[in-house]
């Protein structure tokens, strides 16, 4: 028995070891290294002057830094809320719809996942083209249906830009949440649903009492994935509104803030590598805390429902 277990452990080790090495070298060490750099300052890419927590103090006490940091934080929350609503709520109902078998449901399933296969940059550029105020088709379409007074410079107006970007991202990853939810719904035993239907439950009762409780862990997973994705989102901002999160930082998220501050020259918005690493570390902390909060929340909710 003991011999078998030892053999088993050896086997497990063999499986985990390569992944562990890759993870350590390409994930863990860079994260620790970047945390180290957040304690340094200096010219060039590799800061060499140890300053302790000075960078953090400056980030939160000097106006030139904290204004941009909190602005990105606020934008990120707004961005996260929009994406969560679109992806979770719409994704869920879409999944409910297509998990019912009807003509073409399989086709819709495939269709909804299609955008996810595109590159984020491509999606960004496509949306930018569609929304271009000069030759974009979106404005032409709105004109055609007679609503031209509603047209605004979508990506040039600080009030609409963050929504547009969030919707582009939601559109792209919509299929992912649909996929998660349909697999959850497909996993519910048919007999339970049949029983409910025999008992006379309507579609809303069915969703509320049967589907929702069974897919709640998936809501948690999807939300946490969106959270991590959004608080580290960079590509779509880069493609649609540039590293400054134009217009005037209204679409500046942590990802673009970090890229700009760490890698741009000072004249283009750089803060030096040390401060950049500080921003990265703060992002890491915020994401970790956020994931912790969501995990606790969803675990608790699940326990409540299971009682």
């Amino acid at each position: 028995m003991l011999e078998a277990r030892r053999k088993h452990a050896k086997f497990l080790f063999l499986f985990i070891f390569p992944a562990f090495i890759v993870y350590t070298v390409f994930m863990l060490l860079p994260i620790l290294n970047s945390m180290k750099y957040s304690l340094y300052t200096g010219e060039g890419l590799i800061p060499n002057e140890f300053v302790g927590l000075d960078n953090y103090i400056r980030l939160f006490t000097e106006e030139r830094y904290y204004v941009k940091f909190w602005n990105a934080f606020q934008n990120n929350i707004q961005f996260f809320i929009i994406v969560t609503v679109v992806q979770n709520v719409l994704g869920f109902f879409m999944a409910v719809l297509i998990s019912r078998t009807f003509k073409g449901s399989g086709f819709i399933r495939k269709l909804s996942f299609l955008p996810t296969t595109l590159s984020v940059l491509v999606v960004g550029y496509i949306f930018k083209l569609i929304l271009n105020p000069y030759y974009g088709v979106f404005d032409k379409f709105i004109e055609m249906i007679g609503l031209e007074q509603l047209i605004i410079p979508w990506l040039g107006d600080p009030r609409s830009a963050i929504y547009v970007v969030a919707i582009a991202v939601s559109w792209q990853f919509f299929g992912e949440s649909v996929l998660f939810y349909t697999s959850g719904i497909d996993g519910i035993s048919d007999s339970i649903i049949e029983a409910a239907q025999i008992d006379g439950a309507n579609i809303w009762q069915e969703i509320y009492h049967i589907i929702l409780p069974s897919v709640l862990p998936i809501v948690g997973i999807v939300t946490i994935l969106i959270f991590i994705g959004d608080f580290t989102q960079f590509d779509i901002i880069f493609a649609m509104t540039g590293t400054r999160g134009d217009p005037n930082y209204s679409t500046d998220l942590f990802g673009s803030l970090f890229y700009r501050t760490a890698f741009s020259s000072p004249e283009r918005g750089g803060w030096g590598t040390g401060m950049g690493a500080t921003v990265a570390t703060m992002m890491f902390i915020i994401v970790t805390i956020g994931v912790g909060v969501f995990l606790t929340f969803f675990t608790k909710k699940k326990e409540e429902l299971e009682k």
Binding site: L45, P133, Y135, P153, T261, E267, G270, M275
Partner: protein
């Protein structure tokens, strides 16, 4: 288990053999030819630069130059990283003043005074953009000017002559607007143009050009002074003539609007000649310098030191790189470059003929003007928030009606508090 080990070993050995033969081949093929890598932020110039470099290889057959530009927005990050990692290009395009200086600070640039004795003959203002304590770290290579492009046919249609004063300019705008034309192709989605071309180029006549800029650097003047505010006010005059929903129009779109003949004017830089040439030809495109305040005023001409060429101190082929650097500082290169890249002006002493009409026109204004460079490019952009960023943001906010000209000036001044 044994089988697995064997397989792993086999794979490793084959891979090793493959690599070994690969490097053998490389050594055989390139035994006497040296390849220098040249990097820049001008991805649009690959073909033109290749033709220039071919001329060099003709003269020095054992040196090949591989032009590998990186997208403008990623250039600085890439350059810093590659230099730090020891895999940087041999020949490097450097931005002027603070940006180039940041690279110099990393200790990866060759000091050039001893390599290129001819440097002392370059205009001192150009040298200053890439030198510290008398040490030059780049050959001043490219200067650009800022002004206004216009469509000859549209101007002709309304009988408008090239405006000299601001009043003429405004009158022309009004006429064009009344005629239902798109007056400017300008948009404000990307803010760098608003500052680098418009405020620095067209504003210089109002804030007082080089003298005012020097006063700003010397801390004898502030952005909130009346002359700088006036320049903001003049920029605001232009807003009514921007296209509909200009807030959403980005840089590429503006070039397309003007380049395809859909707007009467475009406030731009000399580097755009090639772009307009590619978009629809230059026969119908004219150019005039920023209009002065009143007749007889001296033009304050923003002739900006744009790019210098530096050399990687840690290049694998230092001697060949030095040979190339000497060539880059020669009149032969200057002439070639100005032929291939119209709108880029060389600082290399010598007499040249410009083959492009627009470039000639741009140059024609130099004689009777006072040259200056972009308002807050030097020293005022060395830290966060940089003058460059602040001015771009201020003008953008002004065009979005969030700030008045006076508030915009104050926005820049407040942001520059680290400097004062």
């Amino acid at each position: 288990m044994k089988k697995l080990l064997l397989a792993v070993l086999l794979v490793a050995m084959t891979a090793g053999l493959a690599f070994a033969s690969g490097s053998q081949e490389a050594a055989d093929g390139g035994s006497d030819k040296v390849k220098l890598v040249f990097t820049s932020w001008r991805t649009e110039d690959i073909e033109r630069m290749n033709r220039i470099n071919d001329a060099f290889t003709k003269e020095y057959p054992n040196i090949e130059v591989d032009f590998q530009p990186v997208k403008d927005t990623e250039y600085d990050a890439q350059l810093q990283q590659s230099l730090a990692a020891g895999v940087g290009a041999d020949i490097i395009f450097l931005r002027s003043y603070d940006s180039g200086y940041q690279i110099y600070q990393t200790g990866s640039l060759q000091e050039l005074n001893s390599v290129i004795p001819g440097l002392s003959g370059f205009p001192s203002a150009a040298i200053a953009a890439w030198a510290t304590d008398g040490k030059s770290y780049a050959v001043p290579s490219v200067g650009v000017v800022h002004g206004v492009y216009y469509r000859k046919s549209i101007f002709k249609k309304y009988g408008i002559s090239v405006p000299e004063t601001w009043d003429d300019f405004m009158a022309a705008c009004e006429t064009l607007k009344d005629g239902g034309e798109t007056v400017f192709a300008q948009g404000t989605k990307d803010n760098w143009m608003l500052y680098e071309v418009m405020y620095s180029g067209l504003g210089a006549n109002f804030y007082g050009g080089e003298e005012a800029r020097q006063a700003l650097i010397a801390k004898d003047a502030r952005m909130t002074d009346a002359n700088f505010v006036e320049a903001f006010e003049r920029m605001e005059d232009l807003q009514p003539y921007f296209p509909e929903r200009f807030e959403g129009i980005d840089y590429v779109t503006m070039q397309q609007i003007f380049g395809t003949g859909n707007a009467a004017m475009f406030m731009g830089g000399s580097w755009e000649i090639g772009i307009f040439e590619d978009l629809g030809g230059l026969e119908d495109v004219g150019y005039f310098a920023p209009p002065v305040a009143k007749k007889g005023d001296t033009l304050q001409y923003c002739f900006h030191v744009d790019a210098g060429i530096g050399m990687n101190k840690n290049s694998k082929y230092p001697e060949e790189a030095k040979t190339y650097m000497k060539w880059v500082a020669s009149p032969a290169y200057a002439q070639l470059m100005m032929d291939e890249l119209p709108g880029f002006f060389s600082y290399t002493p010598g007499s040249y003929t410009l083959s492009n009409d627009l470039a000639k026109q741009m140059q024609s204004y130099v004689a009777d003007s006072v040259p200056t460079v972009r308002t807050v490019w030097e020293k005022l952009s060395a830290q966060a928030p940089s003058g460059n960023q602040l001015l771009g943001e201020a003008v953008q906010k002004m065009y979005a009606d969030e700030l008045t000209p006076a508030q915009a000036a104050k926005y820049v001044d407040d942001g520059l508090s680290w400097y004062y």
